[in-house]
Amino acid sequence: MNVKTEPLAINMGPLHPSTHGVFRMLAVLDGEVIVDLEPVFGYLHRGIEKLAEEKTYKQVIPLTDRLDYVSSMSNNLVYVLAVEKLAGIEVPERAQHIRVIMAELQRIASHLMAIGTWANDLGTFFTPFMYMFREREKIIDLFEMVSGQRLLYNYLRFGGLSHDLPDEFLPAVRKLLKVMPGYLNEYEELLKENEIVLARSMGIGVLPEELAINASASGPVLRGSGVKWDIRKVDPYSLYQHFDFDIPTGITGDSYDRYRVRLEEIRQSLHIIDQATQDLPAGEVKSKVPLNLRPPRGEAYSHIEAPRGELGCYVVSDGSTNPYRFHIRAPSLINLTCLKDMVMGLKIADAIVTFGSIDICMAEVDR
């Protein structure tokens, strides 16, 4: 009998439950095995970089919220740092501390979401997801306390913050710090040694160390491959040099290692928040900055360790009130370029798990 077979080209996305937004994978399958995969993106392009050129420096801050909407605080921070570098603005120490607290809270919230959706991609019926959203909700409540917003915070300003912390903030953070380790253990009980999780994610979507570096991957994707690289350590900003924390790294660079790195980073973030809240200095939270900021001619690049990797911001000034050029180095986009190398030859279910473990935000990829 002569059976004729042909590969099946399948369009996963842009409307697909586990493409985390509007991502499209043009996968060619031989049965269940992926023989070719082409990532297609750009469905969420809003031209943020171009829009920023038409706005004043201050008006761009809300735009950065919309880059990676699950970690708006980090986006605020990187842009604010770039403009402060450009205009030479000093930031009070209290504001720096609060920025660190915000960035780390944001990292926890973002990693919780990453792990939760990754568990969903593995096929759990929303249970870890709901558990993690329960805690993410508490962090979002904290952000709502300080900024009045639950998703797009618009909280940081040049030279500090828009306003000081409310009185009920610090007790709420302390409460969170107290309960969070218990919850983390709960997640680990559910996922860490679950046979099916191990079978589905160990050795799946391996990103070799060399390839990770050559593809300039960053964040948990890079650290999962065993590279000890964290902007908070190698090029400290916002007083990160004063805080004590570790950089967790993986060994093999598979999906499971990336998950472990994220969970460990949550613990480290809690440690940083603990230190930052304990010696929170008193004083101003905002230095004097002209309302209509006109930085001198020049350019500035700032980078921070956002939850998804190295988030960079490049601002060029021509001396007017709006940026001449505004560019974002989006970690999601650069990490996503490794996807094809990671999933070739795996099954379609593995591709979903690997994709989930990269943890991208399409709003940041497409900008």
């Binding site: 099946l8 969903n120 019926f125 929303f126 249970t127 079978a199 589905r200 099954k347 279910a349 593995d350």
Partner: protein, 364 residues
């Protein structure tokens, strides 16, 4: 209680003879299946909600009890779309094939002593045969949809069918040996001690194979919504989707009913009336299934097949050997219990080693 339903060895002296029995029981079974399916939908959503630290549906009626009814009204009033390039006839027949054959299973299930539509001598064979037909319905649905996701789902179903059906059948052979009967009534009568005590291995194998048969987590590859969106039913809408959805829950009901009939002693139990015991056991089994669903992730297809062939099949064979030994050498029941439990514990302890190796070997 027993005189209420007059189960006839010969047709009774009612006008119409055996047909009365047939009519009454058919109505009872349809009412039972439909009501239980709706209760299951509600129960599962509430229970999963509790497992996930949320409330679940709580608006329609007390404790959201009428939520399935509201859903049914919504789903039946939706537009019924048929894919233009699909195979219309098969697309139409597929949900019916699955639903009818699953409901047929209940024809041989005793609700209490003598309360059974037909006490077939080959009842278990009938159950096995009817349990397979929904897979054909699923394959028809996936094939006729003319959708790539649906096709992948359908092909997965066929690939899985062969793997889980064999351990399942072997687990049932143990039951047959011990009960010395193929009729479900006879099996329940034989369970002075419930069979899940006497053959824990068989219970475990049958439970896992049932999960695969009813496409529940961790074996819900057919409609894996994070991979192939909704699998075989992706193109279905309106009343046809409602039937497919209902079929899934009726399958879950059938699995719970069979688990409680074959291994938990069916309607047997002290004090309470038999039918209450029956329902309690069915709900307990369904709770277990929902619990598994809300805890475990999904297996990959090759892992699922290696799991079934390399883990479940040897387990079923060991169970068969133990049961054969116990039955033919007339050993006391506790021997069966202890040996079965020991094997199960050792096997589960070795699970990770065996399983991961299995996953490694089946690479294409």
């Amino acid at each position: 209680m027993r005189s209420f339903i007059n189960y006839p060895p010969a047709p009774p002296d009612w006008p119409g003879g055996y047909w009365w029995h047939w009519l009454v029981f058919t109505l009872i079974i349809i009412a039972f299946v439909m009501t239980m399916a709706l209760i299951f939908i509600w129960y599962e959503r509430r229970l999963v909600g509790r497992f996930q630290s949320r409330l679940g549906p709580n608006r329609a009626g007390p404790f959201g009890f009428f939520q399935p009814v509201a859903d049914a009204i919504k789903i039946l009033t939706k537009e019924d779309i048929i894919t233009s390039r699909g195979d219309r006839v098969i697309f139409w027949i597929a949900p019916i094939v699955g639903f009818v054959s699953v409901v047929m299973i209940f024809a041989v299930v005793p609700f209490w002593e003598g309360a059974v539509l037909v006490d077939l001598d080959a009842g278990l064979l009938f159950v096995l045969a009817m349990g397979v037909i929904p897979s054909i319905g699923i394959f028809m649905a996936g094939w006729a949809s003319n959708n790539k996701y649906a096709l992948i789902g359908a092909i997965r179903e066929v690939a899985l069918l062969i793997s889980y059906e064999i351990p399942m059948g072997l687990a049932l052979v143990g039951v047959i040996l011990m009960a010395n009967s193929l009729s479900l009534e006879g099996i329940v009568q034989a369970q002075e001690i419930p069979f899940f005590v006497l053959q824990p291995l068989g219970f475990f194998v049958f439970l896992v194979a049932s999960l695969a048969e009813i496409n529940r987590t961790p074996f819900d590859l057919i409609e894996a919504d994070s991979e192939i969106v909704a699998g075989y039913n992706i193109e279905y809408s309106g009343a046809k989707f409602a039937v497919l959805y209902l079929t899934e829950y009726v399958e879950a009901l059938a699995a719970s009913v069979l688990l409680s009939t074959l291994f938990l002693g069916g309607w047997r139990g002290p004090i309470l009336p038999p039918v209450i015991w029956f329902l309690i056991k069915v709900m307990a089994m369904f709770t277990l299934i929902v619990w598994i669903r809300s805890t475990l992730p999904r297996l990959r297809i090759d892992q699922m097949m290696s799991f079934n062939w390399k883990f479940l099949l040897p387990l079923a064979l060991i169970n068969l050997a133990v049961v054969t030994l116990v039955v033919f050498s007339s050993l006391p029941g506790w021997v069966a219990f202890i040996s079965g439990s020991l094997v199960l514990i050792i096997y589960l302890a070795l699970w990770s080693v065996i399983f991961r190796r299995g996953g490694k070997f089946v690479q294409t």
